[in-house]
């Protein structure tokens, strides 16, 4: 899923304060799972905005609404559109995709992000999420025991580890696992360590974002 984190309140409030009526638009997919922008978090932020505007004497009316997904046109139903039209601006609780999608849909409204979108990740335990994929466009994790060096090694080394790996930790921070220690350990479990002798060639980054913004087309399902 896409993992995001709420922006500092002051930043959101400063944007909201430029208007009199804002719509807080929550998203029911990834950011609900990572507890950043779902219905609950939308409610919390709405309450905070209401309290802060009352406290600071700012004339601000906040409406809350959460839709299933902000990255699919079909979920922007009539109710949503009406609420958007009735507001001066929208504060999207979706990931960066949702913010842009919403902005595209309502070209006459400013849409502000309420979240900082962080990464594609997994839930480690309740309340803890961690990065697992860098969306490089050419998956190679099978060569590394199912552990992605692009996303999980701090230097994206394909022929790691670097000299900084110590006791299974990455040189950048003792809280970060060294991806290459994990790769080595897992390949050992699989009895495939010898495959790591192979020199991995230069990566073709053109499938990554370095090749420009990407589009996927699946012809058989297009209308």
């Amino acid at each position: 899923m896409i993992v995001a984190e709420r922006k500092p309140f002051d930043e959101i409030f400063a944007n909201a304060g430029k208007h009199h009526k804002v719509l807080l638009l929550g998203c029911g997919t990834c950011v609900t799972v990572c507890m950043a922008g779902g219905q609950k978090e939308t409610g919390v932020l709405a309450s905070q905005l209401r309290l802060a505007s009352r406290e600071k004497g700012v004339d601000l009316e906040v409406t809350e609404h959460t839709i299933t997904r902000q990255c699919d046109a079909e979920f922007f139903d009539d109710t949503t559109s009406r609420l958007v039209e009735e507001s001066d601006a929208v504060i999207s609780m979706g990931c960066g995709v949702g913010v842009q999608f919403c902005s595209d849909r309502y070209p006459n409204k400013t849409v502000y992000p309420a979240l900082n979108t962080e990464f594609f990740g997994a839930t480690l335990e309740q309340g803890v999420w961690t990065e697992r994929c860098a969306g490089c466009g050419q998956c190679i994790v099978d060569k590394f025991g199912g552990i992605c060096p692009v996303a999980r090694c701090s230097k994206s080394l394909l022929n790691g580890p670097c000299g900084g790996s110590a006791d299974g930790r990455c040189e950048i921070n003792p809280d970060v696992d060294c991806a290459w220690q994990k790769i080595y350990d897992h390949m050992e479990t699989l009895g495939r360590v010898d495959e790591l002798e192979e020199i991995q060639p230069l990566k073709d980054w053109s499938h990554n974002r370095d090749g420009g913004p990407r589009t996927v087309r699946k012809e058989d399902v297009r209308l």
Partner: protein
């Protein structure tokens, strides 16, 4: 000697190929555009070693470019080993710099991953890591031997123009103490197969572990295919010894050395004494082709160390 065709013709290569015990050292470029410091440091190292590493934004702190500083050092009579890290430049920039460095007379290049930028003075910057150090070694090897760029294009101005490829002696770093331990030797093998001609190791304090590593290296016959220069850094104080032990990833400083530093009347002198003993010991380990003296910001002390370790005068090999 004349039968062997040299890859680069650098002094370092010639010393190593002739079977002489090589000595390299290190010169950190200034954190400013100041040329004088380079001249001063160069004067200390001249005649003391066969080649001198010029670091590339070491510890991710901005310094004068290693190529520029290397050329300045060359003017002072040193032979530079230009370090290139993968952190700051992509394959276009690095290949362009390699052509430029070669054109300016540089013959040795050492390939590194590079310390992460979070340690340096620009922790908010973006890193590159378009390739890793092993891939970089291979790019250089293909430039030199196959006379092609990483993309496969030939290194020539036009179809009819001659091939003018950089003839570089290619180095890499080796960490005999890194984790996972058995993989350290594997990585050395990978570097050798990618095209490295020599490696310089991380500084060695734990002689026993280094001996074990060298044994594994010899078991694989790697010492016959790549020159191994053993890294030595003199300890300056007890604090430095403890810092190295506790904070430097993959470095172990054995207790007996800590004890010696603790009880020494003059710790600096004791540190140098230890370094000299180590160099003499390292010399006798089969497969060790040279010493790499890294006296961090203490270029002045290198001559004394080399002298005491019996590494002077340096041979002239043509």
């Amino acid at each position: 000697m004349s039968v062997t065709t040299l890859k680069s013709g650098s002094m370092l290569e010639r010393v190593l190929v002739s079977g002489k015990f090589a000595v390299t050292s290190e010169l950190g470029p200034p954190k400013s555009a100041d040329v004088e410091t380079i001249k001063e440091k160069a004067a200390c190292l001249k005649g003391v070693c066969d080649a001198v590493n010029i670091t590339d934004n070491q510890t991710a702190i901005v310094r004068m470019s290693s190529i520029a500083a290397g050329v300045l050092a060359m003017r002072e009579g040193l032979e530079p080993v230009i370090q290139i890290t993968c952190r700051d430049r992509n394959r276009l920039a690095i290949q362009a710099d390699v052509l430029g460095a070669y054109a300016l007379g540089i013959r040795n290049i050492l390939c590194l991953s590079g310390d992460h930028q979070r340690f340096g003075n620009h922790p908010t910057s973006k890193n590159v890591f378009d390739m890793d150090s092993i891939q970089l070694v291979n790019v250089l090897k293909r430039m030199r031997d196959d006379k092609v760029f990483a993309c496969g294009d030939e290194i020539r101005n036009s179809k009819k123009a001659p091939l003018v490829a950089p003839e570089i002696f290619i180095g890499a770093a080796a960490n005999p103490f890194g984790d996972p331990f058995p993989f350290c030797v594997t990585r050395l093998g990978k570097k050798m197969r990618a095209g490295a001609d020599f490696v310089q190791t991380q500084c060695i304090y734990d002689m026993d572990r280094f001996r074990r590593w060298m044994e594994m290296v010899r078991d694989r016959g790697l010492h016959e295919q790549i020159y191994i220069l053993a890294g030595v850094t003199p300890l300056k104080s007890l604090r430095m010894a403890e810092h190295m032990r506790d904070n430097v990833a993959g470095l172990s400083v054995p207790d007996h050395l800590i004890e010696r530093m603790k009880s020494a009347a003059d710790p600096k002198e004791e540190g140098e004494k230890i370094a000299v003993e180590q160099m003499q010991e390292l010399r006798d380990i089969p497969g060790v082709a040279g010493i790499h003296i890294m006296a961090i910001e203490a270029e002045k002390s290198v001559a004394g160390l080399a002298e005491k370790a019996g590494l002077l005068p340096r041979p002239i090999v043509d």
